[in-house]
């Protein structure tokens, strides 16, 4: 629980409590009064934008993936395995570009842990992709078409008995383990325990312990670097956890893109029921992380509801209701869902501006959506931003980037509630283009 009286607080009071905790971060000793002031100024600018006010300047908050590593001359493999060098690259990125929000541990992943666990769902450098390519998802039906009922009966048991043994080689013995719900009375305990005495399960547990240590090694290095960025540069984190739309949970890494689309025709009832079953799980996923990080924002990448991926009717009736339920569940917890809209949402804007969602409690970051239409729909409803194209940053020239940002700000930022960001998480960009975006954002964002 975030505060001792949490259950008695309204959603707005919870929002205030989380915003206060964000403004006064635990474990960060600002090295100078200037750093502390810069931190609070940035928090203030972002909060103003979130609450649909006009900040002193438009916050500039790019989403980056491997870009900091590439700037430092690191390969993707280095970024995923050599945490110390990546952390240095991350520090250097923040010193160079001075973004208003921190690109934290989410920009990399601990592949040592994934090697130990024989994670099958992805390729990464040294395991399927070459040293310079970022990790990529291996699309497959990790959940079978006839397993909806099993999933809905007990999602945790489903994960343990079916999903995890398929997605991690090390977790294959999990298929033999009983669900934890069988631990009810003394006579039932021994049968539950027995598999844990067998060599395959014990080998699995040892791998899990080693992977846990590998994850901690990564986290300690990365969190120290994050604290240093906060303490020395006064840059706050703009995300304290993640969650997903229930349709994407199923469509991204369980049934897969193609299969979930076929399920829409063949198993619509089960699909809807499964999504509804996943709503509280998705809310809790975001809330637990936001509680732990004491950060009010939960990042939600949106994938399979984009224009073209579903009809307008299906978006409205199939994708949106459970996404909306997750959004409302997070808002009820005082959390600000940060919705990262991949692809385009031109035909979805009228749906997402939903009167049940309180104004000023969500952030929507877009990629290829028409930003003037976004402005027209979302003004007075939600903070929005994004849109600087990854392709422009990678293959354009600095003058084009500056012009793009200048026009974007002039077109859509005038009413407040705007955050300048990239349309995608940037892996590759010409450094001079990236700097042009940052400079233009700061220069033209002040006059707005």
């Amino acid at each position: 629980m975030f505060t001792h009286d949490w259950d008695t607080l309204t959603a707005d009071q919870r929002f205030e409590a989380r915003m206060r905790a964000w403004r006064e971060p635990d474990g960060v000793e600002f090295v100078t009064p200037e750093a502390a002031a810069a931190y609070r100024e940035r928090v203030g600018m972002i909060r103003a934008a979130v609450e649909l006010n006009k900040p002193a300047r438009v916050p500039v908050s790019p989403h980056v993936g491997l870009f900091p590593a590439r700037c430092a001359g690191l390969s993707a493999r280095d970024a995923y395995y050599d945490y110390g060098r990546f952390a240095q690259a991350m520090l250097e990125y923040h010193r160079t570009y001075e973004p208003d929000t921190l690109a934290g541990y989410i920009t990399t992943v601990p592949c040592k842990a994934f090697d130990i666990l024989d994670y099958k769902m992805y390729d990464w450098p040294g395991r399927g992709t070459d040293d310079n390519a970022g990790y990529q998802y291996n699309e497959a039906e990790y959940m079978k078409a006839d397993e909806y009922a099993l999933l809905m009966t007990d999602p945790s048991a489903y994960w343990q008995s079916r999903y995890l043994p398929r997605t991690f080689g090390a977790f294959e013995p999990m298929a033999e383990l009983a669900p934890l719900t069988e631990l009810l009375e003394m006579p039932f305990v021994a049968p539950f325990l027995m598999p844990y005495g067998t060599p395959p399960v014990q080998a699995m547990l040892k791998k899990l312990m080693a992977a846990g240590e590998a994850a901690l090694e990564w986290f300690e290095v990365m969190s120290a670097a994050e604290r240093e960025v906060m303490a020395t540069l006064g840059i706050p984190e703009f995300g304290g956890g993640a969650s997903k739309a229930p349709y994407d949970i199923l469509g991204d890494t369980m049934r897969g893109t193609r299969a979930v689309m076929l399920d829409k025709f063949r198993r619509r009832g089960e699909l809807v029921e499964a999504m509804e079953r996943l709503v509280p799980i998705a809310v809790d996923f975001g809330r637990r992380a936001a509680d732990a990080t004491r950060n009010p924002f939960v990042f939600m990448p949106l994938h399979k509801g984009a224009d073209g991926f579903l009809s307008h009717k299906d978006f409205e009736e199939l994708y949106w209701p459970t996404l909306k339920a997750v959004i409302l569940g997070l808002i009820e917890e005082g959390i600000v869902p940060q919705l990262f809209v991949e692809g385009a949402y031109d035909s979805r804007l009228d749906v997402i501006v939903d009167e049940d969602i309180p104004p000023g409690r969500t952030v929507w970051l877009f990629d290829a959506t028409d930003m003037r239409a976004v402005r027209d729909h979302l003004a007075g409803f939600a903070c929005f931003g994004g849109n600087v194209p990854g392709a422009l940053l990678q293959i354009g020239v600095a003058a084009e980037v500056e012009e793009y940002v200048k026009r974007l700000l002039a077109d859509v930022a005038g009413g407040g509630g705007f955050i300048l960001s990239t349309g995608i998480s940037v892996d590759q960009a010409r450094p001079e283009n990236f700097m042009a975006m940052m400079d233009a954002g700061r220069r033209y964002g002040e006059a707005i």
Partner: protein, 211 residues
């Protein structure tokens, strides 16, 4: 009967399609005419997609149904070639560094239905492998796919490699994928780009002079 089959496929009514296919075969319908009806139906779904009345799930479902119809009637076809007009071969690949295949697969399916023969080299395909295949097959066009921005440089390298390979004739190259746009097309040096699978079919026809 065949018109009913076309309508059932267009309506994505899987059960009805199976029933009508079985009935058509029982009535002695020619396997080729059933296949042609299937193609006609998938083309209609493609047209609906181009008009914004159908979407990717509908395209995929239509393709899936067509595949089932095809599996059912193909064994009944005589050894002779199908009577569909062949527009030539297109080599497709997701370029080096990128393992995404869904976009490529949808494009491949629609190109096939449009009458092209598809040689799909898969994902994460190095430029040299694409050139080797292009040399061996002499396709009427090459289609390169990529979802990640890392694909831009791989596409460029592949286009350069194809152009430098002294192929006669040198096939036009078309590119596609979520981040691809006119600027990317210029950067890569491709002959054209498409924003979706239907655009890819139109582009392939125009690049190969079959528009």
């Amino acid at each position: 009967m065949l018109e009913q089959l076309v309508n059932a496929i267009t309506a994505l009514d899987e059960e009805q399609v199976h029933r009508l296919t079985d009935e058509a075969l029982a009535d002695g319908a020619d396997a080729q005419s059933i296949l042609n009806a299937g193609r006609e139906a998938v083309n209609r779904v493609g047209e609906q997609y181009a008009q914004g009345r159908a979407f990717i799930p509908e395209l995929i479902m239509a393709g899936e149904i067509m595949q089932q119809v095809s599996a059912k009637v193909r064994p009944l076809l005589a050894a002779r070639q199908t009577q569909q007009r062949q527009l030539g071969t297109i080599v497709l690949a997701t370029v080096k560094g990128d393992i995404h295949d869904i976009g490529k697969d949808i494009v491949g399916a629609l190109l096939e239905i449009a009458g092209f023969t598809i040689i799909d080299l898969g994902v994460d395909v190095p430029a040299a492998q694409i050139v080797t295949n292009v040399r061996a097959v002499a396709p009427v066009a090459v289609g390169l796919s990529g979802l990640l921005t890392v694909a831009f440089d791989s596409m460029k390298a592949t286009v350069d490699a194809i152009r430098q390979a002294d192929l006669r004739p040198c096939p036009p190259v078309m590119i596609g994928g979520a981040p691809v746009n006119e600027q990317v097309c210029r950067y890569v040096g491709a002959d054209g780009w498409g924003g979706d699978a239907v655009a890819a079919v139109a582009l392939a026809k125009s690049l190969t002079g079959d528009a």
